[in-house]
Every structure is written in C-alpha cells, then in structure tokens.
Amino acid sequence: MLYRENGQFKTSYRADQAVFPIAQDRLAILAIIAAAIVVVPFVAPEYLFRAILIPFLILSLAALGLNILVGYCGQISLGTGAFMAVGAYAAYNFQVRIEGMPLIASLLLGGVCSTAVGVLFGVPSLRIKGLYLAVATLAAQFFVDWAFLRVKWFTNDSASGSVSVAGLQVLGLPIETPVQKYLFCLAFVIVFALIAKNLVRGHIGREWMAIRDMDVAAAVIGIRPVYAKLTAFAVSSFIVGVAGALWGFVHLGSWEPAAFNIDRSFQLLFMVIIGGLGSIMGSFFGAAFIVVLPIVLDNLPYWFGIPIDTALAAHLTFMIFGALIVFFLIVEPHGLARLWSIGKEKLRLWPFPH
C-alpha cells in the first residue's frame, strides 16, 4: 500500500536512470545510511561494533569487490584472500617504511598494489574460462601465501611472520575506539559502494556484463575482451585490496598470512553466491549472512541460558549454518538479492495482486 510508485512520473532521462528510481527506495536507503552514521554509534554496545559491525562492513566491501569480478564480469576467482593479503601487507609496508605516511594513503596504495597483482593474475583469463580460471586464480592464493610466509622483507623481518600496526589516525583524528573504527570503515564502504554502483551501470559495467553473458558475441559487437576482463580484475582487486588492508589495520590490528588463507577466499565466494551474483545489494546480504549468522547461532544457547557443551554448540552452528545455505540456494538459486527483489515486486501489488 505504501510501497507503490503511482504518481511518480519521470520527466527526464536523468530521473529515469537514477540509482534508486523509486522514491520510497531512495528514502529508505538514505534513512538507513543516516541511521548507520548518526544513531548506531550512540546506541550499539562495544561488542556489536568490534565483533559484528566492523567485520561485516569490511567483508561486505571485499564481497563487493569480488562481485564485480564474478557477478558482473563472470570470471570466477578463488584468489580473493590473496588480493586481500596483498592489500594488507602492501599497506603495512607503506605505513612502516615511509615516515609520516597518511593512513588513507597507505590503505589506497595497498589497493593499488593489489590491483597490480590482480591484473597480473587476471592475464590468464584471456585464454582460459570458467572453472579452469578458478584453478588459475587459485595459483595466486598459494603464491601469495608462500610469498608472505617466506619473503622476510614483506613482514619487516618479523621473527614470527606476524605483523601489527598501532596508533592509527586520519588528519590528527585517532582511529582507536570502536565507534571511530566503525565510522572509518563505514565511510570506505559508502564511497566504494557508490563508485561500484556507478561503474556497473556505466559503459564499462555493460562491457563486463556483455563479456559475462557471451564473450564471443561481445567481441563481435566491438567490446575488447582484454580491456573488459582486465579492468574487471583491476577494479575488483583494488576494492578487495583496500578491504584486506582495512581487515588487517582496523579489525585485527595484528595479523599473519593465515588471516587471508584459502578459507577466506571461499568464504567471500560463498558470500557473493549466496548474496546474489551481479548485485551490489547482494554483497551486503551475503556478508551479513556469512558473518553475522554463525555468531548469532553461537550465542543463542548463552542468551537463552541453555547449558550446552562448547564443542556441541560449535558443531551445531556448523550444521544449522550449512543447512541454511542449502535451504536458501534451493529456495532461490539467484541469491538473497533476488529474494529481496521478488519481495519488492510482490509488495508493489500488495494488497491487490492481479
């Protein structure tokens, strides 16, 4: 009843091409962002920030990056963890080796290094496709793991291979309390989500989607596969690299290569698949599903005061989580984002469906 677009006339192409053409959507998103910036910092407890909101924001940023590559350009990648690691370690090196390096600059430079590595490992995508490409990007994962474990220079000669950062600040403002960290990550996520959304609906995004849908046909109509595929790799690994740097700097504070191992790559790929391939919104849904749900499941017995063995609780979490993944993929193979848009379609007609 409330959610309908009657009376919202579009009189210009601009209005027709808006990110959220429906006024209610626009308002809802603005309200959510405003609430995230203004209300959440005052009401949420510290645990919520540190254990849920910050990891959720950073991993949704990474999922967003991966979604550009897998969802929009159709290039399956299992090297996400590697690109995150490159971002984190590169940013660390900029921060440690260059005196007075601003934090944001080192994070972005981390992303730039990740872009270079991403493009390098994206080159095989010009010749190999589908699952074979997944295997090729797996090489990136193993190579990067190896490099950060073995090459001492990358870890500033730390004896154990574990590196850490402290005293983060932006323009004199410290990034120390959970609220500051949260707002810092939120700013990154909003900016990158906006950039990503505009990229995918611009000409470059259309090229990616054309390559995804059928690369031969795309080449025939004049899209250069080299350019389209490598830009997708570049943009994707840039965002993923920045997310990796945030994960290390802001969330963990101290990390070793194991923080970005193959499990992380799979986790992100699942986020994208469950959340919805080729959807910016889906990246957030997927991240929420994979980050928040296990923690909630883990906590349920304590909240209800059920005395339960720790091991049993952990196993139950795995089982319920796995069952839910299967359930959602059966109900809607196109991911939570599709479920969301179906819901919206239905809502438009409610309460009088034809």
């Binding site: 990891p55 291979g161 850490s164 990390w255 923690i295 906590n299 909240w303 720790t310 091991a311 196993h315």
Partner: protein, 442 residues
C-alpha cells in the same frame, strides 16, 4: 514472514537483555569471571580438548575448595577453532562480562590480543607459548608468558642434545633440522636456533610444513638426503603423529627426534604407539603427572562428585596438566592481587595484572597447592614476566611418557639480550617507551 522475523528478533533481544540482567546480578554476589578460550573442534581439537578440560577442572576444583578467599569463580567457554578472527570475536564477547584474565591458547590470537589488551586493561597469560619477547615486562606490560616461552624450550633442547654429545663445543659441524608448523607458532624458535647455531657452529636446516601438516613427504625426503644429527619438531596436532610416521617410513631414528611441548603429549604419539618409542619432547616443567597430589585432589573433589569435564582417564596427562597449571597461574594471580587490594574482593583486570606481576610461588606454596614435583618455583617481577626458565625432556616408552633428563635451565646470557632487542624493536614500532620504576610500583 516479515512480522515473524521481527517477532523473533524481539524475542532474541529480550533474551539477551535477560541474560545481561542475570550476569550483573551474579557480579554482585562476589564472583570473579574467568573467560576460557578453547578449541574443542577443528584440526587441533585433539590437543585443545585436554587443555580445556584441565583448565575448567581446576576452576571447578578451586570453587569446590571454597573459591579464592571466598570469591567464587564463574567462567564461560568460547570456541575459537584456533582461528584468529574467531578468537578476537570471543575476546570481545567475553571481555564485556568482566573478564579477569585471558589465555588465548594460540600464538596468532596472542599477537592480535597483545594489541587490544592494554587498551582494555586485561592481562594475558600465555603459559609456555605466545611471543617470546613478551617476557620483557617493561615493554609488554599486559603479557605474561609465565614459566616458559618457545625460546626457553628451544634453548633447553639445544642444551640437552649438547649434553648428549658431551658439551656445547661438540655441536660444531653437527646438523640440526627444525621441522616446524608454518605459522607464527612454528616460527617462534627460529631466531634462538639461529643465534645458537652461530654461537656453536652447528648447521641449522629449516624445514617448514604447511598447516595442518598432513603432507610431509617432501620434508622427510629432504631429511633422508641431508641426514641431520637431530630433528627438532615444532609441530602440532595431526602434524606430530604424521611426522613420527614419516620418520618411521624414512628410517629416521626416533631417539634423535625432539618435539616442543605441543608435540610431546599423549594425543601426538598414541596413534603411532610402539613405533614412536624413543621419541623425545621438551616439557615446560611438568609431564604426565597422574601421581601428583593436585591430580588426586581433582579426581576426588571434581570427578569424584560427578563434576569432571572430560574423561577420567585423561586427568593428569600432559596437556591436561598444562591446562591445570595455566588455570593455577590465573587463580594465584588473583589471590596475590587480593593480598594487596583486599582479601575476599573481586579483582579487576588491572589489579590482577599486579598480582601476576608479583607472583611468588615458592616451594612451600607449591607444596600446599599440590604441585610438588610437578613444577619448580615461579617468581615474576616487573622486568621479568616469565618467572622461571626451567624445562625437562621426557621420552615416550611406547605406552607412557617418562622423564629422561634432569632439570634444564635456559641460558639467560643468550636469552636476555635477544628478548631485550626484540622488545625494543616492538617498542620502537609501536612508539612505546619502557616503563619507569614508578610505573612498576603501581
């Protein structure tokens, strides 16, 4: 659908609020909360479970004995699965409940929490593991690697094999291979081994094994080719039994193999059984202590009353004892703090930190606690957060672990400069200054 999910959310929120209310009610009743980070699942569970059982059993035992000067212990376990991010989540979850002291039980989690603990004013105990340079309490104010680090373990091992060879000078030209778990944990002993190898002129061969360590064929092929005089095994979980099996397959004598204490417990050799006979491991003071008084007490007071956490047969085994000892340090730290800040009171993290820093467990106290013969006295100070640097070597005889060496003491003349240099490097990176003598008094 939507309404339903909203109503569930409300139910969950209400339950959470109820949980919060009860926990504050608990705090008023003179109860000290101990968070317990464990891994009872995953690849390392075989080693994590006995530790957790020992830890929790000791807490229960303390309560059965009337608590800490009347203050009862409450605790909550949190499963980390040995993952650093999961460990951080556990830390955040439990610290809000008034955590006294954290024991991360993972080198990776220790590194992450080292950054967070000072801000939250919660001490970390890493008994026998963690970062070796954190012995330097002047830089690492909140870290307590009580009674040993991996550097102590490695140093004791080098001394032990030197003794076998007939003196440290006899090590010249010998070859020692370090087979290690490729993680911060496995890499910890490397600086010390390198230092020792420079000093005595033995060859150090570094052989990393990718976690979790089920694939070691290539590593042992290298060992077969280079035939090192000794193999030090910095392995863990499934990696240990795999390494011993590979040693059998390549014909490397088990008598020449020395594990760290994580590679020297029952789960590591049980599956291999007889072929592991002769395999040695360094212990950070204690070994299997089924005969000790504390074990008998726990069996009587906890298991005897049907309160035991794990199987009865495992009580007193190596890793179980490690859990017991770690819990004892935490409890004694709180008790020591009570001596200064008021007996029978609930201690804050800061007060507990003082207690841990001024821990004085002399022989008399250890005897009273039932730890006679299990360990040697520990006494910490502002500069030294480790408090004891003794170790022993024990050997698997096919069915049980038996001590095969006398007490070994790590060489402070080697350790001290290394600890100081590493701590200084950390302080410089973090722009920290060393603590002043006045700060030590607080």
């Amino acid at each position: 659908m939507k309404l339903k999910s909203i109503s569930t959310a409300i139910v969950i929120a209400a339950a959470a609020a109820a949980g919060l209310a009860t926990s504050t009610a608990f705090a008023q009743a003179k109860e000290q909360f101990f968070p317990v980070l464990v891994y009872r699942t995953g690849a390392y569970a075989p080693n994590g479970v006995p530790w957790a059982n020992g830890y929790v059993d000791y807490l229960k035992y303390t309560n059965a004995k009337g608590g800490m000067n009347g203050v009862k212990i409450t605790y909550e376990e949190c499963e980390t699965g040995y993952a650093t991010d999961k460990g951080v989540e556990c830390y955040e979850r439990l610290k809000g409940k008034g955590a006294t002291v954290f024991q991360p039980l993972s080198t990776g989690i220790t590194f992450a929490l080292t950054e967070k603990a000072p801000g939250d004013k919660i001490p970390l105990i890493t008994a026998g593991y963690g970062r070796s340079e954190s012995q330097d309490g002047n830089v690492f104010k909140w870290n307590f690697p009580i009674a040993g680090t991996y550097w102590v373990a490695a140093d004791a091992l080098v001394q032990h094999v030197a003794k076998k060879e007939g003196g440290l000078d006899k090590l010249k030209g010998k070859k020692i291979a370090l087979v290690y778990h490729d993680s911060p944990y496995g890499k910890e002993p490397i600086p010390l081994m390198q230092e020792r190898s420079k000093l005595h002129g033995f060859d150090l061969q570094l052989l990393p094994v990718t976690a979790p360590g089920v694939e070691q064929k290539a590593t042992w092929l290298q060992i077969r080719q280079s035939r090192p005089d000794y193999v030090f095994l910095w392995g863990w979980g499934v990696m240990n039994s795999t390494a011993i099996k590979e040693a059998v397959a390549t014909g490397y004598p088990r008598e020449k193999m020395y594990g760290v204490w994580w590679a020297g417990a029952e789960p590591d050799v049980k599956d291999v059984g007889d072929s592991a006979k002769g395999y040695n491991a360094v212990t950070m003071q204690h070994g299997t202590e089924t005969g000790s008084k504390i074990v008998q007490e726990i069996l009587k007071e906890v298991h005897g009353k049907g309160q035991g956490t794990g199987p009865k047969e495992e009580v007193g085994q190596v890793l179980y004892m490690r859990g017991v000892m770690s819990a004892m340090f935490a409890v004694e730290g709180v008790k020591r703090a009570q001596e200064r800040y008021g007996k029978g009171k609930v201690m804050s993290g800061e007060q507990t930190r003082w207690g841990l820093e001024n821990l004085a467990l002399d022989q008399k106290k250890l005897d009273a606690l039932g730890f006679a013969g299990v360990m040697r006295p520990v006494s910490t100070s502002c500069a030294d957060h480790m408090g004891a640097n003794w170790a022993r070597v024990h050997t698997w005889d096919g069915s049980k672990w038996q001590f095969s060496s006398d007490w070994l003491q790590a060489d402070e003349s080697i350790l001290k400069p290394m600890v100081k240099a590493a701590a200084d490097k950390y302080a410089a990176e973090k722009k920290l200054t060393r603590r002043t003598p006045e700060d030590c008094q607080s």
